[in-house]
């Protein structure tokens, strides 16, 4: 890659979300905005080698893209005259006399977030569109992240953009009466992106670092543009989780459970900062599920060892979480915390009530196997581990479970002999 290309790629990676958001605001159209930015990038490759790399490449690209778009709109006779006029007035209103260094692209990304995560779009479309326009990821990168084909991903994005345009999905931050509900949709999309990076369903690797970082970046952006304690909670939850990534797999790429992780590999600086941020959110007194999950994650992060973990607190937090989210998965986690406090029998009893609902959920059987082991019941543990192995589609998880099964089987035959 030449130096020019390197600078251009960096500028686009850093600022394309912001440039696109601003262009979409002016045109009210995703495709026109993307085309204009692409044209500007091509122009940069032509002009920068002779004129030099501008001081503020992002501002240069923004201005160039707007000029290209104005030209195109002027030529486009199908456009309704009145609308065209307004767009041109908006575009030309930018202070051209401002020096490039002072030039600031208006931050329209919050609007774009609400549009991309509009509940009238499917979850898959929300994820793809958010990563494409706000994250500046290429269609190929998104397709790879979601283990889908490039054609399918492109189709999904195209369809979503068409719906935004034709169904009248507004390009706006929702009004105060809708804001709370719609903000939840944005938070959920970001969290889904993050989860996707960790689950790697049917994938070979357990984490996809870039996707996780992108989700954290988006949450930080949402939090900065629209500060709300639950968004803060979401950001903390993801940061705590991500801070433990280095310890999650060993040198051979094998998965390491929280219990056996080398805690010195955790990113303690991030943990400390995140903890301070979470405390700030809690002080505002508007609790919600993300803040509580972040607190649980934070408790783990701050424990010196598995044995030193404050299970009492964690169990209480899970109890609080069930008030917001009574799903069987949350109840499963609450029961595991209870078991780790030493109350194994009651935990096992509450797990039995969840079996019907979680009969296809791998972690349920892995967790119940754990409880059987705590009670010394190796036969039942092996039985549940087999079911967990059958259900997992992630190769690394599978290897982890197979190892565990082997260890239990060896212990079992030792005691029997």
């Amino acid at each position: 890659m030449s130096e020019i290309e390197h600078h251009l790629t960096r500028a686009l990676r850093k600022s394309s979300g912001r440039i696109l958001a601003s262009l979409i605001k002016s045109f009210g159209d995703f495709d026109k905005a993307e085309d204009a930015l692409q044209d500007a990038a091509a122009e940069a490759l032509r002009v920068w080698p002779t004129n030099g790399i501008p001081h503020n490449p992002a501002a240069w690209l923004h201005t160039a893209a707007k000029r290209r778009a104005i030209d195109k709109i002027r030529k486009d006779t199908r456009h309704h005259a009145k609308e065209t006029q307004q767009i041109l007035i908006d575009l030309e209103a930018t202070k051209e006399d401002m020096s490039e260094t002072d030039y600031d692209i208006p931050d329209e990304r919050l609007r774009l977030m609400f549009t991309c995560c509009h509940p009238a779009l499917s979850n898959e479309a929300q994820l793809a569109l958010t990563l494409r326009t706000l994250g500046g990821l290429t269609v190929r990168e998104i397709a790879r992240a979601f283990l889908s084909s490039e054609t399918a991903m492109l189709q999904r994005i195209t369809r979503a953009k068409k719906k935004i345009r034709d169904a009248g999905i507004p390009y706006e931050v929702p009004g105060i009466e809708q804001l709370a509900g719609r903000r939840v949709a944005v938070q959920k999309t970001i969290y889904l992106i993050f989860n996707e990076s960790y689950s790697a369903f049917e994938g070979q690797t357990l984490t996809r670092d870039d996707l996780a970082k992108e989700a954290i970046r988006l949450a930080a952006l949402l939090f900065r543009l629209d500060p709300c304690p639950e968004t803060g909670g979401l950001l903390c939850l993801m940061q705590f989780t991500h801070a433990r990534r280095a310890a999650r797999t060993d040198n051979d790429g094998q998965m390491v459970s929280l219990e056996h992780q080398d805690r010195s590999l955790w990113d303690h600086k991030t943990i400390k900062q995140t903890n301070a941020l979470l405390v700030e959110q809690f002080k505002l007194g508007q609790f919600g599920p993300y803040q509580i999950q972040a607190a649980i994650s934070g408790m783990h992060c701050q424990a010196q060892s598995w044995g030193a973990t404050d299970w009492q607190q964690i169990a209480a937090l899970y109890q609080a979480l069930t008030a917001f989210d009574p799903s069987p998965v949350v109840q499963l986690n609450a029961a595991m915390a209870q078991a780790n406090m030493g109350e194994v029998q009651p935990a096992l009893a509450s797990l039995q009530t969840l079996e019907d609902e979680l009969c296809c959920y791998q972690p349920f059987f892995a967790a119940r196997a754990e409880l059987h082991l705590m009670r010394g019941d190796k036969t039942s543990a092996l039985f549940d581990l087999d079911r967990a192995i059958d259900l997992t589609k992630n190769l690394i998880e599978r290897r982890f479970l197979l190892d565990k099964r082997e260890n239990v089987a060896i212990c079992k035959s030792d005691t029997e002999n």
Partner: protein
């Protein structure tokens, strides 16, 4: 933009509405007045029962008539409103006020505009 709100519900599902049929009628009347006052209402009608429906198609120059609706589904089209709204968000806001949203489904779709 104009949005068509298509009102679907399963036969008999009205009975789950709190206050019964009388309350549904009153709430529909209230919705109509509110939408008119807000300048959102273009037009709207309720349709007779699905049992009155006739479906028509022409194939190979021959017109075929069928007794019954286009699609035999549990939820059937029972009426519509044509609403003038700023965007989809406003259309959704009004659609959720239609009483049948509480026991049926409202589908909103923009009316297509053809360029001259």
């Amino acid at each position: 933009m104009q949005f068509m709100a298509l009102i679907y519900n399963a036969e008999g599902s009205e009975s789950s509405y709190e206050g019964g049929m009388g309350k549904i009628m009153a709430d529909y009347w209230k919705f109509g007045e509110e939408a008119k006052a807000a300048g959102v209402m273009v037009t709207g009608d309720a349709l007779e029962a699905v049992s009155t429906a006739t479906s028509i198609r022409e194939r190979n120059g021959k017109v075929e008539l069928t007794d019954g609706p286009f699609a035999e589904t549990k939820e059937q089209l029972g009426g519509y409103y044509l609403l003038e709204c700023k965007d989809l968000d406003q259309a959704i806001e009004w659609a959720q006020k239609i009483p049948t949203a509480k026991y049926g489904t409202i589908e909103v779709r923009p009316v297509m505009v053809f360029d001259q």
